[in-house]
C-alpha cells in the first residue's frame, strides 16, 4: 500500500518536474530566509538539563543567598611584579566600577583598602617575621627616600655604602639590578614605575602574582545583559587602558560568563569549520565513488535543499539551537545525501535494461520503502533522547529526527524530478574493489563469523575500562583563554572551584558543621566566616612592633626644605654622576660576589647613558623611582601600625560574601584529594552530603548533571534498541534477521567504548549521543543489505548490484562528514566526531563483511541461496 502511494507520488512528480522543482525552490528560499533571520544559540548551557532536581534547588537557594557568586566574569591580572599587577588591577577596577550601566558588581579583594592595610596580619607568623627582617634590610633605602625624596637621597646612600670599607648590605645587588633594569626600560621608550614592594617583600618574581576582579553584569529590567555585551565592554575597557605597567602584565578573562560565551563561539566556529570540511569531503567522495556529474549534482542538490529545510524546521520546532544540537547541521551533510545516493545509484543501475520513466518508478518501488524505513530508524536513533531529562540532546533529537524525515521526502521528490529533466547518467562500468572483497569473503563466512565474535569479545574486554567524564568543563575548548586561565587559577590556588559550599543558618550552626565535617576522611579544610579573621594577631602585633621600632628612623623625620625645580634638576644630575663615579671606583676593587659585581657593572652602564639624556627623561626616571617608593612608604606606615581586628571590622562587601544579609554563614569545604577522578569526587560529595544534605558546589552539580545524563543515556539506548528492533521485525518479518541486523550494531557499540578507552576519550555529556546514533544510522545499512540479500536471485547478482557500492558510499559520506567534526575546538563536538568516525568505520566493515556472512550462516532466507561451494 505504501509502495502504491510512493509510485503515485513519483508519477505526480515526474509528470510535472519543473513545477515541482520550482515549488521546492520557493520553499527552500523561504526556509533559508526564516532560518537565517531567526538563528540563535542558547547561551545558558545550564539549561541543557531539566531543572527540577533537589541538587538544582539547593544550588538555586545558594545563588539566591549569595547572588555575588553567580554568572561572574573574572578579570585576571597577573604578572611577575606585584606592584605592576596591583596598579593595573586598581585602575581597571575603577574604570569598570564607573560603568554602572553595564556592571552591577565589580569587586577585587586584592584592591580592597582595608584588606591591603591589614595585609601583614594575614601573613603567617613565620612569614611576617621574615618580612620584617626584609624590611630591616630595606631600612636604609626607605629612610633615604623619606629624608630626601629625590634621586639624591637614594644615591647619596649608595655612595656612602659603596665608599665605606664595610661589605655592602645584603640586598644591595638586587636594588642595583632593579634600577639598572628600570633605566634600561626608560631609555628604550617604556618607562614604568619601579616595583618597590616586590623588592621590599623579597618576592620571588618567578612566581606570578594574581589579582582577580569579579564582575557581574547589570540587570536590565530584570533581564541579564547579553554575555557578548559584558565581555565586549570589559575588553574595550582593557584596551582603552593606558598605563606603562600594562605591557608588563597579562589581563585575561575567565569565569562562568566567558566560559559559556567561549563555548558557544567554539561550537559555532566548530560547526562552520566542520560544515565546510564536510561539504568538500562529500564532493570528493562523490567524485571518486560515483563518477557521474549528474548523479553528483542530484545528490548535492538534495542535500542542500534538505539542509536548508531542516534548519528552518529546527528553528520552528525548538526555537534555539544549543551547543550540541548545532552539529546536526553538519551531520545532515553526510546523512541527508545517503538516501539520495541510494536512489541515484539504483536508478543508474536500473537504466541498464529499462526506459527512463520505468527506471525511476522501479527505483521508487524497490527502494522507496527501504529508504523510508531507514529514515524512520535513523530518526528513532536521534529521537531516543526526547523522553529523557536531558533537554540538550532531546532538542538535538527533535531537530535530527525531523531532519531525517525531511531528507527522505526531499530525496524522493527532488531526485525523480531532477532525473526526469536531465539526460541519463552514464552507466557504471567498473566494479568497486569492495564488491570483490564481498565476493571473496562470502566463501569464508564461517571464519568471518568467528573473527567477528573474537573482535566483539576483545572490544568487550577493553571497554570494561570505559568511564564517564562528569565535568561540564571538559566539553569546552581546552585551549581557549577562558579555559586555560581557569585551569591556571585552579593550579595556582587563586580560585578553587572544586569546593562544596554549605549555607549555615547561624554562626553556631557553621561552627558545629565545621567540626563534624573536619572528621571526614575526604575533607582537608573547612572554612567558616570566622576563619577569615587572621589568627595569632597579638603575636603578629609584637612582630610588627619590631618593624615600627626599626623603621622609626624612616617615619619620624625632620622635613627637608622644598627645592626649586632648577635646584632639584642640578642635584639630580650631580647625584647621577656622583653615583656613576662611586660605582666605577667600586668596580675597580675585586669582589668575589659575582651577582654584586654584575649588578654594579649593569647599573654603571645604564647610569652613564642616562646622564646624557635630556631633562625630561631624567625627571621621568626620578619620578618612576621616587613616587612608587613614597606610595609604598605610606602603605607601610599604615600596615605596620594596624590594630588587631574582628570579623565585624571587615568592609561590608567582603563580609556579605561570607555572611549574607539574612545572617546565613557560608561554609566552604575543600577536598583532600584531587577530585577530578569521578570516584574521588563521588566519595567526597557523598561524605559531605552525609553530614549536610543541602550542600552545593561544582562537585555536587556535576555529579547531579552526570547522573541525569547517564540515566538519559541508558533510557535512550533502551528506547532506540527496542523501537528499532520492533520496526525491523515489522519490516523484515523475521525475528532472526532482525537480530542479525542488530548484532553488528551491538559490536560497533562495544568497539566504540573500547576506542574511548584506547584513545582516552571518555564518554561525556555530548558524546553519549553516539550510541543511540550507532543503532539509528547503522541499522540503515543492515536493512539495505538484508533486503538485497533476499531480492537477489543469485550471489553474483547481489555482489554486482549497486547495493554494496551504495552502502559503501553512503557510509563513507557519513564517515567523512562526521570525521569533519573531529576538527572542532569544542571538545564535546570533537569527541562526538572522533567516536562516530571510529564507530562508522567499524560499522562499515561489520555491515559489508560480517553481516552478509552472518546472514549466509544464520538467516532463514539462506536456504534459497545458491552456495558458493
Amino acid at each position: 500500500m505504501y509502495q502504491t502511494l510512493l509510485i503515485r507520488w513519483t508519477r505526480f512528480v515526474t509528470a510535472r518536474p519543473v513545477t515541482v522543482l520550482l515549488i521546492v525552490a520557493l520553499v527552500t528560499l523561504a526556509s533559508g530566509y526564516f532560518a537565517v533571520s531567526r538563528f540563535s544559540i542558547n547561551s545558558d548551557t545550564g539549561k541543557l538539563i531539566r531543572q527540577d532536581t533537589a541538587w538544582k534547588a539547593t544550588y538555586n537557594d545558594f545563588q539566591n543567598t549569595y547572588p555575588q557568586y553567580a554568572n561572574n566574569t573574572f578579570v585576571v591580572i597577573s604578572g611577575a611584579k606585584m606592584a605592576d599587577v596591583r596598579a593595573v588591577s586598581r585602575r581597571l577596577e575603577e574604570l569598570l566600577r564607573a560603568d554602572t550601566d553595564t556592571f552591577e558588581m565589580v569587586y577585587a579583594p586584592e584592591n580592597d583598602v582595608f584588606l591591603e592595610d591589614h595585609a601583614l596580619l594575614f601573613l603567617s607568623v613565620d612569614d611576617l617575621d621574615t618580612l620584617v627582617s626584609n624590611l630591616a634590610d630595606a631600612q636604609p633605602v626607605l629612610t633615604a627616600i623619606a629624608r630626601d625624596p629625590g634621586l639624591r637621597g637614594l644615591f647619596t646612600l649608595f655612595d656612602d655604602a659603596l665608599g665605606a670599607d664595610e661589605p655592602l648590605p645584603p640586598g644591595m645587588a638586587g636594588i642595583f639590578r632593579l634600577l639598572a633594569d628600570n633605566i634600561h626600560q626608560t631609555l628604550s621608550g617604556h618607562p614604568s614605575p619601579v616595583a618597590w614592594r616586590d623588592e621590599m617583600l623579597n618576592r620571588d618574581s618567578d612566581v606570578d602574582f594574581y589579582s582577580v576582579i569579579f564582575v557581574q553584569g547589570a540587570q536590565n529590567f530584570g533581564i541579564s545583559l547579553p554575555n557578548a555585551r559584558i565581555i565586549g565592554t570589559i575588553r574595550d575597557t582593557i584596551s582603552s587602558l593606558e598605563m606603562p605597567q600594562k605591557d608588563l602584565v597579562s589581563v585575561r578573562l575567565s569565569g562562568q560568563i566567558p566560559l559559556d560565551h567561549g563555548e558557544i563561539e567554539s561550537a559555532m566556529n566548530s560547526a562552520q569549520l566542520a560544515g565546510s570540511i564536510a561539504a568538500v569531503v562529500l564532493l570528493g567522495i562523490l567524485v571518486f565513488g560515483v563518477g557521474s556529474l549528474r548523479v553528483i549534482i542530484a545528490t548535492y542538490l538534495a542535500m542542500i535543499i534538505g539542509l536548508i529545510c531542516t534548519a528552518a524546521y529546527a528553528t520552528l520546532a525548538v526555537g534555539q539551537y544549543n551547543t550540541i544540537s548545532i552539529i546536526f547541521l553538519v551531520m545532515f551533510i553526510g546523512l541527508g545525501v545517503d538516501f539520495a545516493i541510494h536512489i541515484s545509484l539504483r536508478y543508474q543501475e536500473e537504466l541498464r535494461d529499462r526506459s527512463k520513466q520505468d527506471a525511476i518508478e522501479t527505483t521508487t518501488r524497490d527502494l522507496g520503502p527501504a529508504i523510508s524505513l531507514c529514515g524512520i530508524t535513523s530518526a528513532i536513533g536521534f529521537l531516543a533522547f526526547v523522553p529523557t531529562e536531558y533537554i540538550g540532546l532531546a532538542e538535538l533529537g527533535i531537530i535530527s529526527g525531523g531532519g531525517m524525515i525531511i531528507a527522505v521526502i526531499v530525496s524522493l521528490t527532488v531526485i525523480p524530478a531532477f532525473f526526469t529533466l536531465v539526460k541519463d547518467p552514464v552507466l557504471p562500468r567498473k566494479r568497486l574493489l569492495v564488491a570483490n572483497i564481498s565476493l571473496l569473503m562470502l566463501e569464508y563466512r564461517h571464519l568471518i563469523v568467528a573473527v567477528t565474535l573474537g573482535v566483539a569479545l576483545l572490544a568487550l574486554f577493553i571497554s570494561r575500562n570505559a568511564y564517564f567524564d562528569y565535568s561540564t568543563l571538559s566539553l569546552k575548548d581546552q585551549n581557549s583563554e577562558a579555559m586555560t586561565t581557569f585551569r591556571e587559577l585552579q593550579d595556582q590556588d587563586v580560585i578553587t572551584d572544586f569546593v562544596i559550599s554549605y549555607v549555615a543558618a547561624s554562626e553556631a550552626d557553621a561552627a558545629q558543621t565545621k567540626a563534624r565535617l573536619m572528621t571526614l576522611d575526604t575533607v582537608s579544610e573547612v572554612k567558616i566566616p570566622r576563619d577569615y579573621v587572621p589568627v595569632d594577631q597579638e603575636e603578629k602585633r609584637f612582630i610588627l612592633e619590631d618593624a615600627q621600632i626599626m623603621l622609626a628612623s624612616t617615619f619620624y623625620q625632620e622635613k627637608t626644605p622644598d627645592r626649586s625645580s632648577a635646584d632639584s634638576d642640578r642635584l639630580r644630575d650631580q647625584a647621577i654622576s656622583q653615583l656613576a663615579a662611586s660605582l666605577e671606583d667600586f668596580a675597580r676593587q675585586s669582589t668575589e660576589d659575582s651577582e654584586l659585581s654584575d649588578a654594579v657593572a649593569a647599573l654603571l652602564t645604564e647610569l652613564l647613558q642616562l646622564a646624557n639624556q635630556d631633562t625630561h627623561t631624567k625627571t621621568q626616571f626620578e619620578q618612576n623611582v621616587i613616587q612608587p617608593m613614597q606610595d609604598e612608604l605610606n602603605w607601610l606606615n599604615k600596615a605596620i601600625n594596624v590594630k588587631t581586628f574582628t570579623f565585624e571590622d571587615f568592609p561590608a562587601t567582603f563580609r556579605h560574601r561570607l555572611i549574607a544579609p539574612g545572617g546565613e554563614q557560608l561554609v566552604t569545604v575543600t577536598p583532600g584529594d584531587d577530585i577530578i577522578p569521578v570516584a574521588a569526587m563521588r566519595s567526597f560529595a557523598d561524605e559531605v552530603q552525609s553530614v549536610v544534605d543541602n550542600a552545593t558546589g561544582r562537585p555536587i552539580v556535576e555529579l547531579g548533571i552526570g547522573q541525569i545524563v547517564l540515566s538519559a543515556f541508558g533510557q535512550a539506548i533502551s528506547v532506540a534498541v527496542v523501537l528499532i528492533l520492533l520496526v525491523l521485525i515489522l519490516a523484515l518479518r523475521s525475528v532472526v534477521d532482525s537480530i542479525l541486523v542488530l548484532i553488528p550494531l551491538a559490536i560497533t557499540t562495544l568497539v566504540t567504548f573500547a576506542t574511548s578507552v584506547l584513545v582516552d576519550l571518555p564518554l561525556n555529556m555530548a558524546n553519549v549521543v553516539v550510541v543511540p546514533l550507532i543503532f539509528g544510522l547503522g541499522v540503515d545499512n543492515g536493512i539495505h543489505v538484508v533486503e538485497r540479500f533476499r531480492e537477489s536471485k543469485d550471489l553474483t547478482a547481489l555482489v554486482r548490484s549497486s547495493t554494496p557500492r551504495a552502502v559503501f558510499l553512503s557510509t563513507l559520506t557519513t564517515l567523512g562528514t562526521f570525521g569533519a567534526l573531529s576538527f572542532s575546538t569544542h571538545q564535546g563536538i570533537y569527541s562526538i566526531g572522533v567516536l562516530l568516525t571510529c564507530a562508522l568505520t567499524a560499522l562499515l566493515f561489520l555491515t559489508l563483511i560480517s553481516l552478509p556472512a552472518l546472514l549466509a550462516v544464520f538467516s532463514p532466507y539462506r536456504v534459497g541461496q545458491p552456495t558458493s561451494e
Binding site: S133, A136, Q139, P140, T143, I549, M550
Partner: protein, 194 residues
C-alpha cells in the same frame, strides 16, 4: 583656674621631664666616646667604653629585635649570652671605627617622642670637615631611658643587625648567629688600626 588645665600643665611638665631624661644617656655616651677617642690603645678603648655602653644601652632589646621571633624561643642562658655579645659587638665597633681624637665634637639637634616609651634624639658629629647625622633611638624601661639603636646618616644599626642575623639564623641556627657575632668582634679587633 580649673583643675583641668592644672592637670594638663602637669602632664606637659612630666612629658618634658621624660624627654629631658632621654638626652642624658646620649650625652653620657658621647662623653664616653670622646674619652675613648683620646686613647690609642684598643684594649684600653674597650675598657673605657664598656661601662658607658653598659650604662646607656639596652642591649637586651637590641638582641631581642635583632633575633626577631626566634628570641623568645631561646633559653634564658642563651638570651643572656646574646645580650652580652651584643654589648661587646657594639663596644668593639665603636672602639675600632672611631678615630683618634682631633677635636671632634657632638651637638644635640632635637628630640622627639615616638610613643610613650620610645623617643628619638638627633645629634650631629662634627669632625671638622664633615658632619655625620647620628640619631639615637631610646626606650624607657624601669624608669630609665636607654639607647637601643643608632642611626648614622639614615642607616639604622639595629636594622642592619636584624637583616644580618635573621639571614644567618635561617641558614645556620642560633649557633651560627653566635659564631658570626664572635667573628665580628674578632674582626673589629683586627681592623682596629690605631
Amino acid at each position: 583656674m580649673s583643675s583641668c588645665s592644672a592637670t594638663a600643665i602637669a602632664l606637659l611638665l612630666s612629658l618634658n621631664s621624660a624627654l629631658a631624661n632621654t638626652i642624658s644617656p646620649v650625652e653620657t655616651f658621647h662623653a664616653g666616646l670622646i674619652d675613648m677617642m683620646k686613647s690609642s690603645n684598643y684594649e684600653q678603648r674597650l675598657e673605657l667604653l664598656r661601662p658607658v655602653v653598659k650604662q646607656t644601652f639596652d642591649t637586651s632589646t637590641v638582641a631581642r629585635i635583632a633575633l626577631g621571633r626566634q628570641w623568645r624561643k631561646l633559653p634564658d642562658i642563651v638570651q643572656q649570652q646574646l645580650t652580652e655579645l651584643m654589648a661587646e659587638v657594639i663596644i668593639s665597633s665603636y672602639a675600632s671605627r672611631f678615630p683618634i681624637y682631633t677635636r671632634q665634637h657632638f651637638e644635640i639637634r632635637s628630640e622627639q617622642a615616638v610613643s610613650d616609651n620610645r623617643a628619638i634624639v638627633r645629634t650631629n658629629l662634627l669632625t671638622g670637615d664633615d658632619t655625620v647625622d647620628l640619631d639615637y633611638q631610646l626606650i624607657e624601661s624601669e624608669d630609665q631611658w636607654k639607647i637601643f639603636d643608632v642611626v648614622a646618616n639614615g642607616v639604622s644599626d639595629l636594622s642592619l643587625k636584624r637583616a644580618t642575623y635573621a639571614e644567618t639564623f635561617k641558614a645556620s641556627g642560633i649557633e651560627g648567629v653566635i659564631e658570626e657575632i664572635q667573628q665580628t668582634i674578632q674582626a673589629n679587633r683586627t681592623r682596629a688600626d690605631l
